[in-house]
Amino acid sequence: MDYGFTEEQKMVQELARKIAVEKALPLRAELDETGHFPWEVVKALAEANLTGIHIEEKYGGIGGGTLEYCIATEELSIICGGIALAYAATGLGTMPIILFGTEEQKQKYLPDIAAGKKLAAFGLTEANAGSDAGGMQTTAKKDGDYFILNGTKQWITNGGEAATYSVIAITDRKKGARGASAFILEKDMPGFTFGKKENKMGIRASATSELVFQDCRVHKSQMLGREGMGFIVAMKTLDRTRPGIAAQAVGIAQGALNEALKYSRQREQFGAKISTFQAVQHMLADMATQVEAARCLVYAAARSIDSGSKETSKMSAMCKLFASDTAMKVTTDAVQIFGGYGYMKEYPVEKMMRDAKITQIYEGTNQIQRNVIALELIKELAAKK
């Protein structure tokens, strides 16, 4: 299908696909088993300039938008959702700097990220502040020209591997939603360490760690936006990057569909290929239709964001919700088509099913996405009156 990509977008797709097939595919089973970080693939992405995908050219990037970011993430995810996440999460960690960074901050951090010398990560979630980000315990107390950070961020993708961290902390609890601020932190800053690396169900090639702050002194020049803008920084960032997670989900689903289709043409039962059975054909047809619908919604949301639309929250919530539910369903059906073999690690579909699950949970659970969508709908109606 022709999605009306520009020549540049087709180049991004072609490069990401080549890296996925030539670099990620030979590693995915091993990294799923060991949980080692896919540095080799990151290096290839950097050499292809894809680590600077939505960084402006003047900072060494290629100046793409949300759609380019989604295209690259989807292509990688078709082969491995875990490796793709290591890539997508650096985009997430970079977004606060792109959206809210000062010229100095951009010059200091973006070129190394664009060149793939450094990865980025985003620190919002805590043990007791998941869907309810307001429950955040990490504090940043003002001390002259510095802020002193204390607290622990949990389940931070690229934690420990990234060099640059965008972290949200409470600067004034009394101010509620306006009491948080965003900071850029660097690995190896005194008082900034990493907790345990999580042992996850899926996306195992990506690293997930705690960020631990113990009297970590951060100069005020490291603040993103103004004091009190922390939640705005976080929400605007997530609105922009959620389509990336949706694209990851579409990729995982497409990968599972590809495998199921291929297998159905090989596997014989009752003296015939199982692809000749209508029961299997209908499953494949539904899977393909759902993947295509999800993909179109992701591209539409990404294009809407890139055109400067104000409906970013609703569209990005919709595409993340729909694509991740699709990924869970399609990967489950792919395992079903494989039957007993699908449950075994010799075939890649059980991994895809494990990888798919997280897309319904992170960057805002699908329940939270529904809240966002409903709130936006009500707001739109109220605005008309």
Partner: protein, 260 residues
């Protein structure tokens, strides 16, 4: 350090068929790819340039669509590419091809090193690289798996069947490289953008001052008389009887066929 790399577009599959009437490959519907050994030649050139400075120029003799292969090399970081294309080149054998490529390199001018893949996967002759060096009257080192350059002297590690041989050669020279030499790099987005806008000049027979009788079919001493698939070997014969009987029978057969 100026390096010239000679490349070739080849059919992208080992499943090509031969037209029984003309004895030539049926190329229709077969995707063209860059000859895999040439990828290593380009990578070797880029690595040497990155280390010693200078320029990498890629040339190919082929039809107009070969420009796509040249653009792909620009995306990898090659500085310049030239398409050598003319109807007069049609039907060139390895001799005429070597002459044409060598004439192109002479026209380019000053160079320190010419790199070719060890052979093309369609013809498999491995003759063009050495041929080019002869026409240029420069030394050649084939099957290179490693090179080191110091003060105009190149140390080349040659990968032979059962051994490695290390030789020294003065530049300018020509090497042909094997696939074990390096891992070719991937193209980059910025490279692809550069390739998109790159202007690839096309040089014809006159541009390279080629002599008429030395190019194309006219200039090709080789003519393909016939290409055929050899008949499969027979199944052999199993002798039976006592050992003495079998030995006698075997010796008789060998004598009859004048093997002993």
């Amino acid at each position: 350090m100026n390096i010239v790399v000679c490349i070739k577009q080849v059919p992208g599959t080992t499943q090509v068929k031969i037209n029984p009437e003309t004895n030539t490959l049926i190329r229709e519907g077969v995707e063209s790819i860059l000859n895999p050994f040439d990828e290593n030649a380009i990578e070797a050139a880029l690595q040497l340039r990155d280390k010693h400075g200078g320029k990498v120029t890629v040339i190919t003799m082929g039809p107009p669509q070969a420009v796509n292969a040249l653009k792909d090399t620009i995306a990898l970081g090659v500085d310049e590419a030239i398409l050598v294309s003319d109807r007069a080149f049609a039907g060139s054998d390895t001799w005429a091809t070597s002459y044409t490529l060598a004439s192109t390199i002479k026209k380019i001018g000053a160079f320190d090193l010419v790199i070719c893949g060890k052979q093309a996967i369609d013809g498999d002759t491995a003759q063009v690289g050495p041929g080019v060096s002869e026409f240029l009257n420069i030394p050649q080192v084939t099957f290179a798996v490693g090179v080191e350059i110091n003060n105009g002297v190149m140390k080349v590690n040659r990968l032979l069947e059962e051994t490695n041989e290390i030789v020294e050669v003065k530049l300018p020279a020509l090497i042909t490289v094997v696939k074990q030499m390096n891992t070719p790099r991937m193209p980059s987005f910025k490279g692809k953008m550069k390739a998109k806008s790159a202007v690839i000049p096309t040089w014809g027979a006159k541009d390279i001052n080629a002599e008429d009788g030395k190019i194309g079919q006219k200039g090709s001493p080789t003519s393909v008389v016939k290409i055929f698939t050899p008949p499969p070997k027979g199944g052999g014969e199993i002798l039976s009887g006592s050992v003495d009987e079998m030995v006698d029978a075997l010796v008789k057969k060998l004598r009859d066929r004048k093997v002993c």
